[in-house]
Amino acid sequence: MQVWTKLFAKSPFKPLIKHADVVLETVETLEKALRAWYDGNYDEMKRLALEVDRLEDVADRIKEEIRDSLSSKLMMAVSREDVLIYLHMQDKVADAAEDTAKWLLVKRPDGIPDGIKGIILQMGTESIKAAKLVYDAIVQMDRVIESGFAEGEIEREYSLIRQIESVENEIDGLDTKLMQLVFENADELNWAEGFYILNIARTLSNISDKAKDSAERIRLMMNK
């Protein structure tokens, strides 16, 4: 038994990045599913949406593993609480993607006007863009620590965080536009279709919401 080998504990960042990697794969798959949905390729969409569901499970398992391994006896470069909350938020990104996938699976998107479908696709792309940036942000956080909190690296991290946060505004704009379109087309849609559309939009914007929460936690990590 060598104490030296245990003095340095495993960095929580490698598994955090691994988790982020799975979350990234989840949202990328959702993006493909959304495109298939837009193109009316229902079978392909179904396959991809089920894949999103599976990937979310993988992310969950990694999350549990990290939680179990993060003993309170660790002296870390960032606070344990921040790491745990960040992990929780990052996992919520995948959860939100799974929610969207579930709604996509509810019915065939026949009879939805192309204009509405277009905006939903746009919302999805934007929202998922924020989720993808979360991956970059946590990789960058690792570099911030590696550099001994060098200003240049911190600045790069802040710029990523700002990008994630700016997505939020775009989504808000698109959301308003979508609402207007839905009500303008109210006569052509039945209530179930309206419910379906608004829920897809809501779950999609939830992805960027959680991405923003994750980014905020990284901001706190840097301040400790």
Binding site: W4, F8, M75, A77, S147, G148
Partner: protein, 407 residues
């Protein structure tokens, strides 16, 4: 009497060698772990570097004069019987060796200095009661439990901050690393050069040492390293580039640690040998006795053999298991610990290499340089520090009683 003393001198020499062996086995791993763990050197290279430089440090920079009673931990005027000094030295050496072997077995980085001091206090108390111990000195030693890691931590904290400021905060980290890493190595050699003047050439004037030996040596080393590092380090990622430069640099700093360790810790093994040798050659000889070169060589050799035979295995385990240490961090720990130990040993402060290294690790942790340190393990290490003196003392006391009874 003469034959009696000669026989015991032989026994003491053997035990001194055994103690040196245990120091090599336990400590070399402690001082080389960071370099092996950061993959700067392989365990085989670590053995080679540690073996050669521990010996060099011990032989050239080891104390040429030692107290009859290590660190003056007992009042020498209360021990007038040479037989007591001989039996006591044997008991203390054997106890310290045993404790070091036990600690090594459990992988605990304990201080060799504290082991031998515990051993000496142990026989002293059995022989003449509590009053024989110089408690003022003892307090100093106990303070070093606290001081060594704190100084190590502060030094590593500052070095790490300076290092990141000079390298990672620049717009071109690789270029800065090429300039600054030779600077740090040069700085190490300023210390080594000054030590050479004081220890080997027996210079007295510190200023002369620094100006005539330290700075020129450091400057030459700076130029040589600088031109070597200018050679290609192909990497598009500046971080990987910086680490690959420091991987090379760490080969040198790990040698620096070995040198400092040899210089500082060899006295723990050969101090008692020198004391017995003095008794054998000139009878009871006051508080300070000279240490003949061959005894220093014996200690250095013992440490080198300890590294090669047992330290090797330890370092192999360490090399496989530490995966979270980058070269810039490993370098900071090595550089800080070695500098603190060398400077302190020359100021005569009772400092422990092991404690300083562990302190340096904590220092980097405090500077937010290491992603995770197990505080549980830190606690275990600190506990092992607290038991070292008493345990070595009790073992030594028992051995001493036995020797007095038999002899």
């Amino acid at each position: 009497m003469v034959i009696f003393v000669d026989a015991w001198l032989l026994i003491t020499i053997i035990l001194g060698f055994a103690m040196a062996w245990a120091i090599g086995a336990n400590d070399a791993a402690n001082s080389m772990s960071t370099a092996v763990g950061a993959k700067a050197i392989t365990p085989k290279q670590a053995v080679l570097i540690a073996g050669v430089l521990e010996f060099t440090g011990a032989y050239f920079f080891g104390k040429s004069v030692t107290e009859t009673i290590r660190k003056g931990i007992l009042y020498p005027d209360k021990i007038t019987d040479p037989q007591v000094l001989i039996y006591g030295s044997v008991a203390a050496l054997l106890a310290a060796t045993l404790w070091l072997i036990i600690a090594t077995k459990f992988g605990l980085p304990v201080s060799t200095t504290h082991s031998i001091i515990g051993g000496i206090a142990g026989y002293g108390i059995v022989y003449a009661g509590m009053s024989v111990v110089n408690w003022g000195k003892m307090t100093q030693v106990v303070l070093s439990w606290i001081l060594s890691p704190i100084i190590g931590a502060i030094m590593a904290y500052l070095v790490f901050k300076a290092l990141t400021r000079s390298i990672f905060r620049s717009s071109n980290p690789v270029r800065s690393a090429r300039l600054w890493s030779p600077f740090w190595i040069g700085l190490a050699f300023v210390v080594i050069g000054t030590m050479f003047y004081i220890k080997v050439l027996h210079g007295k004037d510190l200023k002369t040492g620094v100006l005539m030996y330290g700075i020129p040596v450091g400057f030459v080393v700076f130029l040589v390293t600088y031109s070597l590092i200018r050679l290609r380090f192909p990497s598009s990622d500046p971080f990987i580039g910086v680490e690959s430069i420091f991987r090379k640099v760490q080969v040198i700093t790990s040698g620096y640690v070995a040198l400092a360790h040899g210089a500082n810790d060899v006295a723990n093994a050969i101090g008692p040998v020198a004391a017995v040798y003095a008794v054998a050659s000139m009878g009871m000889a006051g508080m300070k006795v000279p240490v003949p070169r061959w005894i220093l060589a014996l200690g250095g050799l013992g440490i080198a053999v300890g590294v090669a035979t047992y330290g090797y295995r330890v370092m192999e385990t360490v090399g496989k298991k530490i995966t979270e240490l980058t070269n810039t961090r490993g370098f900071t720990i090595d550089f800080s610990a070695a500098t603190v130990v060398l400077v302190a040993s020359w100021l005569g402060l009772p400092i422990s290499t092991t404690h300083t290294v562990v302190g340096a690790v904590i220092g980097i942790g405090l500077a937010r340089g290491v992603k995770a340190i197990n505080t549980d393990i830190v606690r275990d290490i600190v506990i092992s520090w607290f038991v070292t003196v008493p345990v070595a003392g009790v073992i030594s006391a028992a051995l001493f009683k036995f020797l007095m009874f038999v002899g």
